[in-house]
């Protein structure tokens, strides 16, 4: 394996470890979202505050909500993969074209 691939592997493992370690070592927790915790903190310190506007649309259940989040990630991941694939393919084509030119010119 080249040095470049080792570096890639270490970086990927680093990202995985950052999220796996708290789950493996940390105290039991329900990992509530920070957005929810902040809302709860406001409700605790300002019990008289009433939200003055409600969501225009709410996903019916947490299942539908997580599906829509997955859709968001899928759209983003799809576009990102498409762009990286095209850029990579383009570099390959250029390299091939350059190689062919070298064959013809001498």
């Amino acid at each position: 394996m080249t040095r470049r691939r080792w570096v890639t592997l270490v970086l990927v493992l680093g990202v995985v470890a950052l999220f796996a370690l708290p789950l493996l070592l940390g105290a039991p927790s329900n990992y509530a979202g920070t957005d929810t915790l902040a809302t709860e903190a406001i409700e605790a310190s300002n019990p008289n505050y009433v939200p003055w506007f409600d969501h225009v649309f709410s996903p019916g259940s947490t299942e539908i909500e997580s599906g829509l989040f997955a859709l968001q990630a899928a759209i983003g991941g799809g576009v990102l993969g498409y762009v990286l694939g095209r850029l990579r393919g383009r570099r390959g084509q250029r390299k091939q074209a350059a190689a062919q030119q070298d064959d013809v010119s001498p």
């Binding site: 957005d35 903190a41 939200p51 799809g78």
Partner: protein, 244 residues
């Protein structure tokens, strides 16, 4: 960093919307200008938007026992300068406010200010500084990505402290409380986001070299100071699978 719908008093909601609007309009112009003058930028612009789209959809566990999501706004800020992200980040927030009941229309201005404006600018500043002092692109990318993420959550904490100061300790007390919720949880996520940014830029320096040179992110090859990502031996092997 999403302040929930209706959870900012009307005066604050309007204030942040007015504060964010000029940045978003300016960002929209920057995107249109970039695409019109450099149509070949469209691909990378799409990649920058897509990166934010993916990362802000994924909630990840943190050492504090709560979970949060990265922002991914650093890539676009480093590649195209921060104004572009004012638009792209706001589009992501609008998608989440309308379809996912995450964030909201009344808090869109405040959320855009933290994620699409302060985050990208802080990240861009950190990128420039770290790159200049270290002389290395990837060190700059790591610093830029991580700080764009962290600065967003610090901004949200301060916005909430401003709207809901503590009864006894005032703004500062509330700021400490909200920073405890947001900023501490965000530290490992910011580090992870920095590593993801480094991974992405390692791919881009190899495959999108012409664009990066035109955008001024990389110098043209002869005076290159990068740790040789286009080393001769791995490159041809990587291409074997791509060329038919």
């Amino acid at each position: 960093m999403h302040i929930a719908e209706g959870f900012l008093p009307p005066a604050h909601a309007i204030g942040w919307t007015i504060a964010a609007a000029p940045f978003v309009v300016h960002g929209a112009r920057a995107v249109v200008k970039e695409v019109r003058e450099n149509p070949e930028s469209t691909l990378l612009l799409g990649a920058a938007g897509a990166f934010t789209f993916v990362l802000s959809a994924i909630k990840l566990p943190s050492v504090t026992g709560s979970s949060s999501h990265p922002t991914g706004t650093g890539v676009g800020a480093i590649l195209f300068r921060p104004p572009v992200m004012a638009l792209l980040g706001t589009v992501v927030l609008l998608f989440q406010a309308l379809l996912l009941a995450h964030g909201g229309i009344t808090t869109l201005g405040a959320n855009a200010f933290s994620m699409a404006i302060v985050g990208p600018w802080a990240g861009y500043g950190a990128y420039r500084l770290a790159r200049r002092t270290s002389g290395n692109l990837l060190v700059g990318v790591f610093a830029g990505m991580a700080l764009a993420d962290l600065a967003t959550y610090v901004t949200t904490s301060l916005q909430l402290a401003l709207a809901f100061p503590d009864a006894s300790s005032g703004f500062l007390g509330a700021a400490v409380k909200f920073l405890g919720v947001f900023a501490v949880t965000q530290v490992p996520l910011a580090i992870a986001e920095g590593l993801l940014g480094v991974l992405l830029f390692r791919v881009l320096t190899v495959n999108a070299r012409p664009e990066l040179e035109r955008l001024g992110v990389l110098k043209p090859l002869p005076v290159d100071d990068e740790p040789a990502p286009t080393a001769p031996h791995p490159a041809p092997r990587e291409d074997d699978g791509v060329i038919p």
